[in-house]
């Protein structure tokens, strides 16, 4: 064990800004990425379902109904 | 129309980024592919004269001297073959130590003295606990006394 107390742990030998600044931004970006991926999945399902309904329920036709702006 | 202008911006942005990338390669790499010169290269006249450049090497053991003003530092930088005296006014990085790597930026005076405007510490790729470093140092010293 490297640390005698929690405060010593958070202090990181005086390098707290640099160490925690690295980890905070990294994990923040990971969470942001996961949220964006989940949002995109929802949005795509909704949009494609609407597109399919607009074609007529079976959606088998190859005629191109305009797809709302792709993202 | 809105989607098209958005695409235009994306294409423009993409092209601009790629152009910036190429420019970076051409300008930065041409000058700075070599981030620093060694003292030997400097002595051989391979370093640019009359303009700012960098010298990299080890801070020579026992060479660090602080002037009375408390800000100016004199030390020597070496690649173990050649030695160049350096003077610098400012704060030094924490890892700047005798026997450790450093990169100094500045100009070489006619007196052979390098006037640094920036000093960076260059550390190596070895990571070890203090006890191991201590043991290594002891072994090194022991080895030196034996060989003497």
């Amino acid at each position: 064990m490297q640390w005698e107390s929690w405060s010593q742990f958070w202090h990181m030998g005086g390098a707290a800004v640099f160490v925690w600044g690295s980890y905070a931004v990294t994990f923040g970006l990971v969470v942001l990425e996961l949220v964006l991926v989940a949002q995109r999945r929802k949005e795509t399902l909704k949009r494609l379902l609407r597109w399919r309904r607009a074609l007529g329920k079976d959606g088998s036709g190859r005629q191109s109904a305009p797809l709302e702006s792709e993202q | 129309m809105k989607a098209r202008s958005k695409r235009l911006m994306l294409v423009g942005g993409g092209v601009a980024l790629l152009a910036a990338a190429v420019a970076l390669v051409l300008s930065a790499f041409q000058q700075n592919l070599v981030f620093f010169h060694t003292p030997t290269e400097v002595m051989e006249g391979k370093a640019p004269t009359g303009k700012t450049f960098r010298i990299g090497g080890l801070v020579e053991d026992g060479s660090i001297q602080r002037e009375a003003d408390g800000l100016t530092v004199r030390f020597a930088i070496t690649d173990t073959a050649k030695v160049i005296p350096v003077s610098y006014r400012g704060t030094l990085p924490d890892l700047f130590k005798e026997g450790k790597g450093a990169v100094v930026q500045g100009t070489l005076g006619p007196d052979g003295q390098f006037r640094a405007t920036e000093v960076l510490a260059k550390h190596d790729e070895n990571y070890m606990p203090p006890e191991a470093a201590h043991a290594l140092e002891q072994a090194h010293k022991a080895g030196m006394t034996v060989s003497q």
Binding site: Q2, W3, M12, G13, G14, A15, F18, V19, S22, V25, T26, L29, V30, E33, L34, V37, R41, L45, L48, L49, W51, R52, G59, R62, E70 | R7, L10, V11, G14, L18, L24, V25, F29, N32, L33, V34, F35, F36, T38, G56, L92, P93, D94, L95, F96, V103, E118, V119, L120, A121, K122, H123, E125, N126, Y127, M128, P129, P130, A132, A133
Partner: protein, 254 residues
């Protein structure tokens, strides 16, 4: 009609209607592995690994910095691989794979630069220097941005695929430059602590923490890429019967 076309596919797993549910089943497992490995890696990195003799505690940035930098280079190579496969074999799913990887690669690339800056200040004495290693890594970030912007900006998917593939392949040249820059030129950045050609120059527990975090980054990349590629496949294959079924099944529920 469609199924007879698909009969020509060599690899069955490459068929979108097989890959789509497979990706959905695998992703949670990779995500769970990523969480578990991250917890182990952080424990090794912050509890087991000792202070560094030269740098003190600040070296603990390494447990993020090195895995992120490795991942940013590796993902780009994988993108280039899938792009090449797509161009040669004319498999559309390959292009989609490379496009699904790009945002994660860009994030890892940014993280490598960000953590490097925060590590450089207290050790070197500068957040940023224009040495070969740092400059070529910044170039990699621009290549990621260029790839993402271009593939999203071009409306025709086939042209977008090809344009992206060209950036991926051309830019892949930069990856070995990044990796070997510290050997080829004088750089402020130190050499590699871990390589295939020599014994690692790190204390064992430090090395263990770094490698476990690297595996965590692998698992995370697999999970998030599989999640990202699924709606992309639906979009591409929206004319097919199986996507219609998926939409009715998954789009209906909230």
């Amino acid at each position: 009609m469609n199924s007879s076309q698909r009969g020509f596919r060599i690899f069955r797993f490459a068929a979108p209607q097989v890959f789509y549910p497979l990706a959905g089943r695998l992703a949670p497992w990779f995500a769970a592995a990523a969480v578990a490995l991250t917890l182990v890696g952080l424990w090794l990195g912050f509890v087991v690994a000792p202070t560094d003799a030269t740098q003190g505690e600040v070296y603990r940035v390494i447990f993020i910095h090195v895995p992120a930098a490795w991942m940013s280079m590796f993902i780009y190579l994988v993108m280039a691989f899938w792009s090449a496969v797509g161009l040669v074999m004319n498999t559309r799913l390959s292009f989609v794979m490379s496009q699904a990887l790009a945002p994660t690669g860009a994030i890892f690339c940014f993280v490598a630069l960000w953590t490097g800056a925060l590590w450089g200040k207290p050790t070197w004495g500068a957040y940023w220097v224009w040495d070969a290693r740092l400059t070529s890594q910044l170039l990699l970030l621009f290549l990621y941005f260029g790839f993402i912007a271009l593939t999203r900006a071009i409306e025709d998917p086939r042209r977008a695929d090809r344009a992206g593939a060209i950036i991926a392949l051309v830019g892949a040249v930069n990856v070995p430059i990044i990796y070997f820059s510290v050997k080829w030129w004088n750089t402020l950045h130190q050499g590699a602590s871990v390589s295939l050609t020599k014994a690692p120059s790190m204390a064992t527990t430090m090395l263990a923490g770094m490698l476990v975090m690297a595996f965590a980054a692998w698992a995370y990349t697999l999970a998030v890429t599989l999640w990202r590629v699924r709606p992309m496949i639906l979009e591409r294959e929206r004319h097919t019967e199986w996507v219609g079924e998926v939409l009715e099944r998954e789009g209906g529920r909230k």
